[in-house]
């Protein structure tokens, strides 16, 4: 935790105090956090920061910061990671991953190299494969079901070291 605090402090030395006993209300804006080297290349960095931030704006207090890295670490259990993964991919925060969320995810992943019809094809296929209750969008249960069968999830996703 000390190391995390060190990192948090170095991002904005004049704002973050070294002493937390008085529980000050300090929040770091999103721009600073996105530029951290671990997150810089990640296409989902804004979503990650937003989903951990309490006020939904993207500013992280130190507690939020610790939360974020603890979920991203190796020690967190799979269900926890799945919950946060669902939050990250849900762009419009309606607790469902609908088609526009999928399109946004795809665009971020491929940096908009695919044509419009390819994007529609992929999104349709995803909904066809994973949607169990037939409502045209992925609820958390569908997502959980699909992710639990994926061999690669724990290997690639959400493993960060500080």
């Amino acid at each position: 935790v000390y190391r995390l605090h060190g990192r948090y402090h170095e991002m904005a030395p004049n704002v973050v105090p070294m002493d937390y006993t008085k529980d000050p209300d300090v929040k770091l804006p999103m721009q600073l956090i996105i530029n951290m080297p671990e997150l810089k290349e990640n296409p989902f960095r804004e979503r990650i920061v937003e989903s951990f931030s309490e006020d939904g704006e993207g500013s992280l207090s130190f507690n939020d910061f610790v939360d974020m890295f603890s979920v991203l670490s190796e020690m967190a259990p799979r269900e926890l990671k799945a919950i946060y993964a669902f939050k990250i991919y849900d762009f419009n925060t309606d607790n469902f991953i609908c088609k526009s969320d999928l399109e946004k995810t795809l665009n971020k992943l491929t940096r908009e190299e695919l044509t419009a019809e390819e994007i529609t094809l992929v999104c349709e296929k995803v909904i066809e494969e994973a949607d169990m209750d037939g409502d045209g969008k992925l609820g958390f249960a569908d997502f959980e079901n699909m992710i639990s069968k994926a061999p690669d999830f724990l290997r690639y996703c959400f493993k960060k070291k500080i």
């Binding site: 810089k40 020690m75 967190a76 094809l121 992710i147 994926a150 999830f153 996703c157």
Partner: protein, 632 residues
């Protein structure tokens, strides 16, 4: 909040209870062990040569282009081993322990050629000093053992020759078997797209270049999956497609027949010119045959490409048809060429050109032997001794008249062919790809139409041409390495440089294909063609070992009537006598025939059992699938 509470609880468990220290120690050791394992895996992956390059190419161009480079790397491995065998067991012992250059007639440049032996032009042509060295067959002496180690040179030469062929067969078949096994594994393809979307990003990436590669590979992987999906959704008008495919095959056959006839016609014409004297004709008539064959080799594959667009196959299957057709084109051209030549010489026998060379060689040998006796007599000042008990006169080895050495000539031809083939490939890459890309990039500003989208544009990587070139090149190496032990060395060098050159050319001058497709996981198609070429190229070498007497004046087998006699000679001298008897019994045809029959039967049995296992596998998979479906 939940996360925080959870993590606290977890850490608390560590702190409570007895044996806290031991538990902490165990956890630390486990963590260290896992880290060590991960580092070792990383190290092992880093050791595979060119892995990073190939992964980069795969992420930008797709797995089919990368499969060519993986094939190239595999060939490099085989050639390294062949090189190790020929270099370590044949060239090095001769260089270290054999008689040095200049001590024997066969090891010296003849007096007549001495003046030009060191010129660069002669060396580039592999004559002169290069010819009379360990690089070629003719240098080796037929002494049974050499040096203080009593190294059996002729035996080693023979065994290395046979061993390279045997090793190549073994490894090709082993790779085919391994590929066939992997293919049977099969995977769970439900949720294919969903997994691609949600789990393909590697969150540990911190480096911008790696991120670029990762984006490219994700895009390519999506494109491949889209192509698969589109192919499976395609609605086929079966009759129209079948008609088009039959038409396409008919056109391809016409092209093949046309090119065969053209070659026949041109060879006849060139022989007519030769009869009338070549001076009367210009450059075109003289080189007509070569030019026509090269032009056919350049234009017919493009024609096949156009024809295949009629067929509307999955790109992977279209590639296979293309490869097959080009293969047939080259073989057909070669055969028509040989038949046209032989027809003229009136040799209706079905032996290959080596038979012709063999006849000429026998005549030459008789003449040289006669000359040598006369020459020896002249040394003794006119008296021809009945039995040569006179003391040997010191003659400088360069002056001794030499017999013809067809094995070295054949070896030289192969080496020259390999070198010129390499040069042609490199120059084609440089001109065809690099200059074209430079031209398109820089002249685009001052040209009427958009060069990048319009006519020349950037070239795509030609998978079929390159694969076939690689396979034919390897065939030549296999054919020639018995006569020129230096061939695997030259090939290792060529593959090494070719890997770097082509990787650079692909990344710099080529664009990915329109429809990127996933290479089938089993590269068995390439392997099958390689096996066929291996078989064809070892036929001549085996034929010469078994049927043709070696030259009397050069090489490790000179003086014997057949090359394989070295085995019987070794058995007589070096093994105890009972071994020879046992071998004699074992090579009795009465024993060998039942043995062959037994092997054929066991092959049939193993085939039948493997088929039944595959069927059982499929049944089980179907059951699994239905259980899973019913669960949902």
């Amino acid at each position: 909040r939940e996360a925080q509470l959870f993590v606290e609880k977890f850490e608390g468990a560590l702190g409570k209870g007895k044996g806290k220290k031991f538990y902490a120690y165990k956890v630390m050791m486990t963590k260290k062990w896992m880290k060590f394992q991960r580092d070792f895996e990383n190290f092992k992956t880093a050791c595979i040569p060119w892995e990073m390059k190939i992964k980069e190419i795969e992420s930008h161009f797709g797995s089919s282009v990368a499969s060519y480079f993986i094939f190239l790397r595999w060939m490099y491995g085989i050639n390294m081993i062949l090189f190790g065998l020929t270099f370590g067991l044949v060239m090095v012992p001769e260089a270290l322990m054999g008689k040095p250059y200049g001590s024997l007639p066969r090891k010296t440049v003849p007096r007549a050629e001495e003046a030009s032996a060191m010129n660069f032009a002669t060396l580039w042509d592999f004559s002169g000093f290069a010819q009379y060295s360990v690089l070629f067959y003719g240098y080796y002496n037929n002494q049974r053992t050499i040096g203080w180690l009593k190294f059996r040179m002729p035996l080693s030469y023979f065994l290395v020759g046979v061993g390279t062929i045997g090793y190549s067969f073994m490894i090709v078949i082993r790779t085919m078997a391994r590929n066939a096994n992997e293919e049977g594994g099969g995977d769970d393809t439900s949720f294919n797209f969903s997994w691609k979307m949600f789990t393909s990003w590697d969150y540990l990436i911190g480096n911008p270049e790696t991120a670029d590669n990762k984006f490219a590979s994700i895009t390519t992987s999506f494109k491949e999956a889209i192509v698969e999906e589109q192919e499976s959704r395609k609605e086929e008008n079966i009759h129209l497609t079948r008609f088009l495919r039959v038409l396409a095959n008919f056109l391809a056959l016409c092209t093949l027949a046309g090119s065969g006839y053209l070659i026949f016609f041109v060879v006849r014409r060139s022989q007519k010119f030769a009869l009338e004297g070549l001076e009367n004709y210009g450059w075109w008539e003289r080189n007509e045959v070569n030019m026509v064959m090269s032009l056919l080799g350049m234009f017919c594959p493009t024609l096949f490409d156009v024809i295949s667009s009629l067929e509307n196959y999955h790109p992977r299957i279209a590639l296979r048809w293309q490869l097959g057709r080009i293969f047939a084109l080259f073989l057909g051209n070669l055969y028509t060429f040989i038949i046209a030549l032989m027809d003229e010489i009136n040799l209706k026998a079905s032996y290959l050109l080596t038979f012709i060379i063999f006849n000429m060689h026998l005549e030459e040998e008789k003449i040289v032997k006669y000359n040598m006796t006369i020459w020896e007599a002249s040394l003794y000042n006119g008296t021809i001794p009945e039995n040569s008990t006179a003391p040997p006169i010191q003659v400088d080895p360069a002056d001794v008249p030499r017999g013809p050495c067809w094995e070295t000539m054949v070896g030289q031809e192969f080496v020259r062919l390999t070198v010129s083939d390499t040069m042609t490939t490199y120059i084609t890459i440089l001109i065809g790809d690099f200059l074209r890309a430079v031209f398109v990039r820089f002249f685009n500003y001052c040209w009427c139409w958009d060069l990048e989208y319009g006519f020349p544009s950037y070239s795509e990587f030609d998978i079929s041409g390159n694969v076939l070139g690689l396979i034919f090149n390897q065939g030549m190496i296999w054919m020639g390495s018995f006569y020129a032990p230096c061939l695997p060395a030259i090939n290792v060098f060529r593959l090494h440089t070719s890997m770097y050159l082509q990787c650079w050319a692909v990344m710099c001058c080529n664009v990915p294909q329109e429809r990127v497709f996933k290479a089938s996981r089993s590269n068995n198609f390439y392997m099958a063609m390689l096996l066929f070429i291996l078989f064809l190229s070892t036929l001549p070498a085996v034929y010469t070992i078994v049927s043709i007497p070696p030259s009397f004046d050069c090489g490790p087998f000179s003086g014997k009537t057949r090359m394989f006699e070295v085995i019987s000679e070794t058995l007589e001298h070096d093994f105890p006598s009972w071994f020879g008897k046992v071998f004699g019994y074992a090579s009795n045809p009465g024993l060998i025939l039942p043995f062959i029959l037994l092997m054929v039967l066991s092959i049939y049995y193993l085939n039948a059992t493997s088929k039944s296992y595959k069927e059982a596998n499929l049944e089980l998979k179907k059951k699994l699938q239905s259980v899973r479906d019913s669960e949902l």
